[in-house]
Amino acid sequence: MERQFTKEIESLRLAEGATFHGEGILAVTKALLQSGVSYVGGYQGAPVSHLLDVMVQARDYLDELGVHVEACTNEASAAAMLGASINYPVRGAVTWKSIVGTNVAADALSYLASAGVMGGTLIVLGEDYGEGGVVAQERSHAYALKSLMWLLDPRPNLPKIVELVERGFELSEASNTPVMMELRIRACHVRGSFSAKANRAPAISKRERLPGPPAEFVYDRLAHPPATFRQEKLKSDVRLPAARKFIAEHRLNEVFPGAEGELGIIVQGGLYNTLILALRTLGLADPFGASRIPILALNVVYPLVPEEITQFCASKRAVVVLEEGQPEFIEQEIATLLRRADVQAKLHGKDVMHMAGEYTAEAMVRGLAKFLGEHAAHLDMASGAQWIEAVGGTKRKAAELLGALPVRPPTFCIGCPERPVFSAMKLVAQDIGRPHVSMDVGCHAFASFEPFSQGNTLLGYGMSLAAAAGVAPLQARRPVAVMGDGGFWHNGLLSGVASNLLNKGDGVLIVMKNGYASATGTQELLSTPPEETRKQAVGASAVHADRSIERALAGLGVKWLRTVNNYRVSEMAKAYREAMTTDEKGLKVIVAEGECQLERQRRLRPQVAQKLKRGERYVRVKYGVDEDSCTGDHSCIRLSGCPTLTVKDNPDPLRTDPVATVIDGCVGCGLCGENAHAAVLCPSFYRAEVINNANLWDRLWAKL
């Protein structure tokens, strides 16, 4: 795993009254233990990876408590895990990145929500919406509405988040309904503190096991007809009122009073801090959140409590709903509630704010200025107008002075084993033409950026091969699907490979066998090489030691199957060209083998440091470019994009274009040399082996 959570694991053990300092998502982790969970599961993905990663690393401590932790292979298996709470009074929590993870989990969630739960169940969603989001932009809210599951959106403040986790379990139990908690990216990574409580060892656990299944067979716990018809009624007749009662009684939503009693703002809890900044900018709030306009912060965004809404709006002329994303589910519900209760406050929301995308402070200042301009002309908001004008002026001035800046999207790491595969693909495309490339989710999606700029579709994690199923029969040229080993085990093996084989499809699949779910923090997979082999391999690739991907493919019936070392660009190009041009029908799979360079370097670095410290011989490899034979055409860069292969001023006074150069940080993966060979690029590349602590033989040899 990419990160060691030694310190964080310590803070999970904090006793009653101690102060926890740390990230939002780790505060949630601690809160789960304080709530006495019996089991935790999930699938990694920013921004919630740390929850599961830290739990996996804290296994010893969790064993002490009797808590079971499962790193599931996808969100569907994580969601299904919550089934344990249908029949037994045990609390469970799972986590994943949303919207994508919730989509994958949706089937199990529907059944879970129908059957209802006995033990509290909490689903922690990393709401990847807006800035920094790396998946399709959609809200998780729709799932809450259609399944009648409750959705928490706490104010991004550690004590509040922790409180909502604890209350969330109680709410779940009080209403027999699974509860989701959405945490935006920055809320997951916000660093703050809260006063800890003691962890509760669960009453039913790995240490205190149940004797067996429930004594009686209860059909109504199965989400199966005819029980489902009764369950569907239960949701709205019993569970929903119970939830509303609990939310109101425990004041999960917060009202912040203000002097302008005739106006009001209803805001999703997660946006509260941004709202205060916007109000401060308009001169309507102080740094401590005291606002002139009353605020209703919804820490529970579904269900709403009708009485809370009507009470807040009753004596007001106008309210505005600040709800990020589309459609405006909350605003519509509030409109219905107000209309039914005949509350006359004028309702604003998406009419003053934009429909799609994030609500930044700038957007809120503009929206609130519109709302208040219409309903509170007496308020002085000059500071807000000045601010907006100043920001516009600065941006214009900067654009004028700077022109267009070069973009800097993320790219493959130095020495990444996936880069050579794309070099080979680019080379072959020059000969046989560009194919339709079906992309997948994972590090390899960086190939959509320069210098590779390829990919025609991206349909989700593990979906690349499935997404080419309709393309292959309609195109003269064979399409190619690229998939990581993460995606392969998550979904690709069944949705892609099995479906292709069943339908006797044609096409090419490249599986990046780097050994881990690398993009999310190098979590382990079914095909991660054994610990022992990794130790022995040190800085070399160890992934050849596990053949479960190849065995799975052969077992399903893939006939054309090649495993190729990624860094041998010529061999990769040869295999790829053959796969793309052979007359052989059926699925052709290239397993591109090369261990994630992050993991290799992590093992290597301490060993090298020790060797050097002990004065032992060590050969350091670095690649370089001869500046006098480099003509500055940069074709090597167009085939690589490695961060350490860059340009510098041309030392030749007769030339102006910069020459290529290899800077510090090169890990000596060898791609430069391989590319120079495979593409017949140029003779300027050299490999230098610097011998640290050389022995007599080295020195003698060097003299020759």
Binding site: I276, T360, T394, P643, A688
Partner: protein, 486 residues
């Protein structure tokens, strides 16, 4: 007491692996140690790999004990016009911060390193795609309230640490941080690992921001020959070294029609002619690779210390073109023509890893350099000189009409560079422009023709795969080789 209206806000723009997260930790630690309310957020995930990423902090500059239980509501997201300290670990990232409105003249102290880490789009162009970084420095002086700009990467290297320590020091030294130097240093110490080196970097950054220490010297701008006399002198040296005195004289003769003409045209022709005439064939490359100065340079570039042995392995892959290039012209021509007909130009390349630092490898490569006397009768020589004459003819012809047009044509020589496929492609682009815009120009007006040539040349350089050039020329430039039936 009256409390401050707002917290101190700090936005850190860093690239993956520069320790931005550690810096945020130091700031949180230092603020928490003196009881100031503080909050930090970030957007990690894949952006942290190698792309641009940011960390954002807010510190309320009054101790919690003096707030009577009240807690400031701190923002999780930076907003334009609301940043007190903008930190950028690289110059273009500082530019990006300004473009996004995070640097305002009323409020922002901008602390940035002036070194460049080039983005892929800047590096991959055929010519020079680098962003003009001076613009960022100029904009910073205009848009920030206060700037601390120097090469912090260099300083970090000198201090044996990474850039975050220097940035932190500069931040503390700028006076914009509500934290005393000692508190910051305590936070670094508490961080443990590498604290000594970080403290050195911190102190250096602090002193420079304070003005009590000079920032590191900027490396001198590269020497460029721009005056005709300088260029011709360098060309003379270069071509004597390349092929001898008579070859250098050929250069002078070729320059004669231009030296008294338009100065810009003359300088451009002189420069390109010198590099074109010293084209990189196998003999030249072998010569350059076996010079003593080259091995010295490699040692320097890979950072070999003292007497550490360095083994140098060269990647050569000569093929039909390379062999033909040193063959007598008629023979070489026939070989290349045969290979082209069969689509076998790249089919027989021999990949070699030659240990040039070893006795055998050195002798092998050096022996190729000894073929120099045969060069004038070689196939490649005949080809290159033919094309050079053609190009010079175009320029001379155009010079009679319009100096601007002559200049644009002269600069098209820039297209021909590289080796193997890249070289063929560059040459093809040159010929495509020559055909469409020089020999068969769509317009008789010199200014229009010149501008069309410039556009086509720029398109070919920006996008060597030829799509943009095709669009500019109004017809596709197809570089895909014919599909071989297998």
């Amino acid at each position: 007491m009256s409390l401050p209206e707002r917290p101190i806000t700090i936005l850190i723009a860093a690239l993956g692996g520069e320790g931005g997260g550690v810096m945020a930790d130091w700031l949180m630690e230092a603020a928490t140690a003196v009881d100031l309310p503080a909050q930090a957020t970030s957007i990690p995930g894949v952006a942290q790999r190698t792309g641009a990423t940011t960390y954002y902090l807010e510190i309320y500059p009054v101790r919690k004990s003096e707030l009577g239980g009240r807690e400031p509501v701190l923002s999780l997201t930076p907003s334009p016009g609301n940043v007190d300290i903008m930190v950028a670990s690289e110059l273009v990232e500082a530019g990006r911060a300004m473009a996004n409105g995070y640097v305002s003249p009323e409020r922002t102290t901008l602390i940035a390193s002036t070194h460049r880490i080039y983005a892929t789009v800047e590096k991959m162009q055929m010519a020079d795609g680098r962003y003009e970084a001076d613009k960022v420095v100029a904009a910073a002086r205009e848009l920030a309230k206060l700037t601390v700009l120097f090469d912090m990467r260099k300083l970090a290297e000198e201090s044996g640490t990474i850039i975050n320590a220097v940035l932190f020091g500069a931040m503390a030294g700028s006076g914009a941080l509500p934290l005393a130097r000692e508190r910051c240093e305590d936070a670094i110490r508490k961080g443990g690992r590498g604290a000594e080196a970080s403290l050195r970097g911190f102190a250096a950054g602090y002193d420079i921001a304070r003005g009590s220490r000079k920032p590191p010297e900027q490396p001198a701008a590269p020497k460029r020959a721009t005056e005709l006399a300088d260029i011709m002198r360098l060309a003379d040296e270069r071509l004597r070294d390349y092929q001898g005195k008579r070859y250098a004289e050929l250069y002078r003769r070729r320059m004669e029609p231009f030296v008294r003409g338009d100065a810009r045209v003359a300088a451009t022709v002189a420069r390109h002619l010198a590099t074109w005439m010293s084209y990189e064939d196998i003999i030249r490359v072998a010569d350059l690779k076996t010079r003593a100065s080259r091995f010295e340079r490699v040692r320097r570039e890979v950072g070999a210390k003292g007497d550490e042995p360095v083994v140098v392995i060269d990647y050569l892959k000569p093929g039909i073109e390379e062999f033909a290039s040193v063959m007598p012209a008629p023979l070489g021509r026939r070989l290349v023509a045969w290979a082209e007909r069969r689509g076998k130009l790249d089919a027989y390349n021999i990949g070699m890893h030659i240990k040039t630092s070893g006795l055998f490898g050195y002798a092998l490569v050096r022996s190729l350099a000894w073929l120099r006397p045969l060069r004038p009768s070689s196939y490649r020589y005949a080809e290159e000189q033919g094309l050079i004459e053609r190009w010079l003819g175009y320029v001379a012809e155009a010079a009679k009409r319009d100096a601007g047009l002559a200049y644009e044509i002269a600069d098209c020589a820039r297209l021909i560079k590289g080796y193997g496929e890249t070289h063929r492609r560059g040459k093809g682009n040159f010929l495509a422009i020559a055909d469409a815009l020089i020999e068969n120009p769509p317009t008789a007006e010199a200014g229009e023709q010149a501008s069309a040539i410039r556009k086509a040349r720029e398109a070919a350089l920006a996008d060597p795969e030829g799509k943009a050039l095709g669009t500019t020329l109004g017809k596709p430039v197809v570089w895909m080789k014919p599909v071989k039936s297998s």
